[in-house]
Every structure is written in C-alpha cells, then in structure tokens.
Amino acid sequence: MTSTTAVLSQTQVTRSPATAVRQTVALAKRSTLELFRQPAIVLPSMIFPLFFAFLGNSSFGRTTSLPGFPKVSSYLQFQLAGTITQGVLFGSVTGAAALATDIENGFFDRLLAAPTSRTGILFGRLAGSVLFGALETAVFIFALLPFGADVSAGIRGIVAMIVSGALISLAVGALMSSVALKTGSSEAVQGTFPLLFILLFFSSAFFPRETMSGVYKTIAGLNPISHLVEGLRALSLEGFTASATARAILVPLAIAIVALFIANRQLRSRLKSH
C-alpha cells in the first residue's frame, strides 16, 4: 500500500502508559487550541471580571474603612481574589461545555472508537481548562496590579496564586465536566452559569465575611467559593506565609480531588451505558 505499511505493525499501536500520556497531552493541546481559536467565547470570561473589578472599585472603594474589613491598600487589592475566582469559574464552564459539545456532535465517539485512554479524554479536556485558568489568573493579576491590586506575597505569591487559579479551574472544570458527562448537553452545562453566579454573590468574593451578618453570613461561610476566594486573598493580603499558601493551594486541591473522583465516575458510567 505505502512505504510505511511494513513498519506500522500492531506492536507499535499498543497501549502503554507512555502512549496514554501522549494521548492526554495531544488532547490537552486540542482543547487549548480550541479555546484560543474562539475569542468570542474566551474573551468575555476575561473582560467581564475585570469590568466588575473596576466597577466594584469605584462603587465600593470606601467600604474598606468599614469595621471588620481587612487592612488593604485599596478595594482592588481585596477584590483581586474575587476577580480571579469569577473569571476562572466562568472559563471552566466554557471548557466543560466544549466536552458536552464533543458528546453532542460525535467527536467523543471518534475518540471512543480509537484505542484512546478513557481517562485521557477527561484529563486532556481538563488540562486545557487548567492552562486557561492559569493564564486568566496571570492576566487578572497583571491587569489590576497597576491600579492598586497589590500582592503582598510578592513574586512567589503571584506564582502561588497562578497555581491556585489553575487548581480552582481543575476543581470547577471537573465538577462541570461531571454535568457534561451525565447529561451530554452543552445547554445543561451552560445552565449552571446562573447558579455559579448566585453562588459567587453569596460568597465572600466581594465583601469579607466579617462585615456580613445573619443568614447571608452563614451561607457565605458554608459556600465553598468563599473558601476558594479566601485562600487566594490570603496571599494577596497576608504575604507569602505558610498558612496563606496552604489555604490557597490545599483548599482547591481538596475540592479538585473530590471533583475528579465524581467526574471519573460519571465517565465510567457513561462508558458503561453505551
């Protein structure tokens, strides 16, 4: 047939851990390329959080003097963590919606018809979200830095915040991917967007829990988004301390582990039902 026929023996197309890694990397590359080739989908998750940050700064700038408000150089310094979380949440929905679209239009079947590592399909998609989350975090930090969003933890803190942003992406991306795998519907994934928005507003993303009262304070305390935001915020306000770094990294990591477990179960369940 062709000159390569003889060398394409079956031994060369067997599955090995190295092949699974190669597949995951290739799928991650695809999901990243997809994101950057759809600026109309990607840019809003960058622009709107920045818009909210500047709006918040001009509207709530004076609230930093309220009793219970942490000591900050500006509202933007306080708000930076909320902006990062907001952007990363919405970016992760985009990645999971792309997975659901793959299921809807049959690209998922194309992957399943090949000897593709099943876990690699999920992790490849999530890797794209993680990279995007890291990029978004860096963009928000460097975009808000000149306007007073100081990071007390310095360069090491910025790196830790980028890692934290990536982990939040992984956690939220895995949860949203579970929805995608369960429903196979991009509408269902995008339908979670308002829910995330409500969760964000019922968290400490825009105000510290210390200034809240009543039910709102209780909800914010139970809301996992508050804990994700506060981990990042600790780096921004407290400096590069062991406690701040641990909160910024370990909270999203713990949520990511649980979310990955759920997503993997949904993947197995979908594969089993076919």
């Binding site: 060398v7 060369q12 695809r30 390329l33 239009n105 194309r110 018809a113 090949a114």
Partner: protein
C-alpha cells in the same frame, strides 16, 4: 485471526423497551465490500456501532478482526478503521492537526507520523488544504478527511457509516473510487447506506435491513435475479386505483410502488405491456404515467419489506425503530458541526 474478519451471531440491541436490532447474523469475508442497506432508523448504524465497540450488544456476540467486540474491545479498536456518519470533525482544527491527533490516539510513533499524514493527505487529495481549518472544507472534503483519519493506522477492516450521505454526485463518485481502491489493496469494507445505487455499485454482497432485522442478503446480481419479472409501474386517478389493481393482478404479483403509483411484476415479461394497457383501457382506467423497469435493488427491497426505499413515503420515518440514541437526538436537532 479467522478467515472472516466480521462475524455477528444473533446480535441484539435494546434501547429501553425498543428493540433497535433484533438478532442479526452476519459473516463478512476478507477482502469483501459488504453493504448494509436500509432506510433511516432501520438499525444499520446501531449494528455498526456494536461492531465498532461503541455500543454493547444487549445479547449475541460479534467478532471483528478476530477479536470479541466486548471482551477484546481494545484490540478491535486497534485493528479497525471507523468513519461514522455522526462523528464530527472538529471544525476549529486543521486537517493536518487532526491527522496528527489521530496518529497519537493510535500510538503511531512520532517518527512515522508526518510521513503517514502526508501520504494520506495526498491520497485523499487534501495536501493543499492540510493547513486550513476544517470549517473551511466542503462536505466532500470533510468526508475525504474522515476517510484519511480512519486509515491512519492502516486497518485491515474499515467501517464506513453512510459515507456519502449529503454529498454531491461528483464527491460521491470520488469517494466510491477511493473505497474501491482501498478494497483492491486488501481492505475489507463494511459500509452502511440508504442509497440503492451505492450498494449496487460498490458492494460485493449486501444485506437489506428493515426494522432491525436482515430481510435479504446476497450478491446484488443474485438478489435482482431473484425478483425475476420486470416491474410495470403505472399512475392513475385515485378513484380508479382499485379497478387498475384488479387488472394488474391478472398479469402478475402486485408490487409496492412509490406514492400514488401501482406496480406489478409482469409474469410474461415486457412484451405484455401493450396488452396491459389495452385491458386497463377496456376497464375504464385512465393511465397517467407508465414505465417498465428491469429488476432493481429497489424491487428487491420492495419485495422484502413491502415498501420502496426511493421516492416513497411508505418507509418508516427516521427513528421509527427507536434507534436514535439520547445524545444523537440532540445532534439531529442541532445539526452537525
């Protein structure tokens, strides 16, 4: 590997209470082009999805390329090429990028990837378009790319699910040529189609599937010969149809016609046409249209199923057999990428 690369025994698939495939038996020999012919919703794609490991059979067994489709699914996947009707090609990627991704999925060494991709792009005539995003490709170009993707690992068995549906005649011919060329090179091909001409032109053997069951199987030439007599088709006024049927029945067995048409297999051959017309005229039947056809696969199909595949509204609607899977319903609503 056994001598027959595709063997299915009593393959059944249910979706809830609906039996999409009701016990299919198949044996496709090495080097054959086998056509699976049937209307939308007949169970063709469901059968192919089971044979390509994408769906688990509810019962029954199948071996493809010598491996059990359930127990050795991974080995089946490594041995076969699949171009599915509903498997989209990512429009945001270029042809070359998709081939590179496919090569990685099949574990093809880095050192061979570029060469293999270039060969396939040349083979399907897409070298010049390799660096363009798929969203700029025509339908024919996408199908050719799909074919190239399915060949990346040089499979010995190739599944093509409705490879030319929606293509213009020129693109269809180009794809047929490529399928023939692959077959000459030794690839066993199983294709599903709803086009009689495609089955007739390409397939060494065909199986007609209707409501999840194989109702006829054999070489197209033998199947057509089995119908025997040529078919006389007439059209008349609706209020004269009963009288016309009574006349036609005296010349042979009535055969299903397209909407508003009556058909009869002329026992005495085409020479009887003049006499039929005279008898119809004597019975007061006004003939609006008349044609005589040598036995075709459509006649075979009509005889086997009771309705015609082409130009008929009698065929069951898509999904009638319940074979549309939950995710596919969304696809049909949203359209393909």
């Amino acid at each position: 590997m056994t001598s027959s690369p595709i063997i299915a025994e009593n393959l059944v698939r249910h979706f809830g209470d609906v039996q999409a495939v009701k016990g299919i038996n198949l044996e496709i020999k090495a080097g054959e082009i086998f056509g699976f012919l049937g209307p939308n919703g007949a169970g063709k794609s469901t059968a192919v999805r089971m044979l390509t490991t994408l769906l688990r059979p509810t019962s029954g067994t199948a071996r493809v390329a010598g491996y059990d489709v359930v127990k050795d699914a991974d080995m089946v996947r490594r041995s076969i090429g699949v171009a599915l009707q509903d498997a989209a090609i990512d429009p945001l990627m270029t042809g070359a990028e998709l081939l590179a991704l496919q090569a990685v999925l099949y574990g093809i060494p880095q050192s061979l990837m570029k060469k293999r991709s270039d060969e396939l792009l040349e083979r399907v005539g897409l070298t010049a378009a390799a660096s363009r995003r798929v969203s700029t490709y025509s339908g024919g170009m996408r199908r050719r790319l799909d074919l190239a993707l399915s060949l990346i690992h040089q499979p010995t068995v190739l599944f093509l699910d409705e490879p030319t549906t929606g293509l213009d005649p020129m693109s269809r011919l180009t794809l047929w040529e490529e399928v023939r060329r692959l077959n000459k090179e030794g690839t066993t091909v199983m294709l599903t189609t709803q086009y009689l001409e495609e089955a007739d032109q390409l397939a060494d053997r065909i199986a007609i599937i209707d409501h999840g069951k194989i109702v006829r199987e054999g070489r197209p030439v033998d199947l057509k010969a089995s119908v025997g007599a040529p078919t006389l088709i007439i059209k008349t006024h609706a209020d004269q149809e009963e009288r016309a049927k009574a006349v036609l029945e005296t010349f042979g067995d009535l055969r299903p016609g397209a909407e508003g048409a009556l058909g009869v297999g002329l026992r005495g051959g085409a020479a009887q046409v003049t006499e039929v017309v005279r008898k119809l005229d004597e019975s007061g039947v006004h003939v609006q249209h008349l044609e005589i056809n040598e036995p075709s696969l459509d006649d075979v199909f009509a005889e086997a199923t009771g309705y015609r595949l082409e130009g008929s509204d009698n065929a069951p609607p898509a999904g009638d057999n319940g074979v549309e899977e939950p995710d596919k319903k969304k696809k049909s609503r949203r359209g393909r990428k």
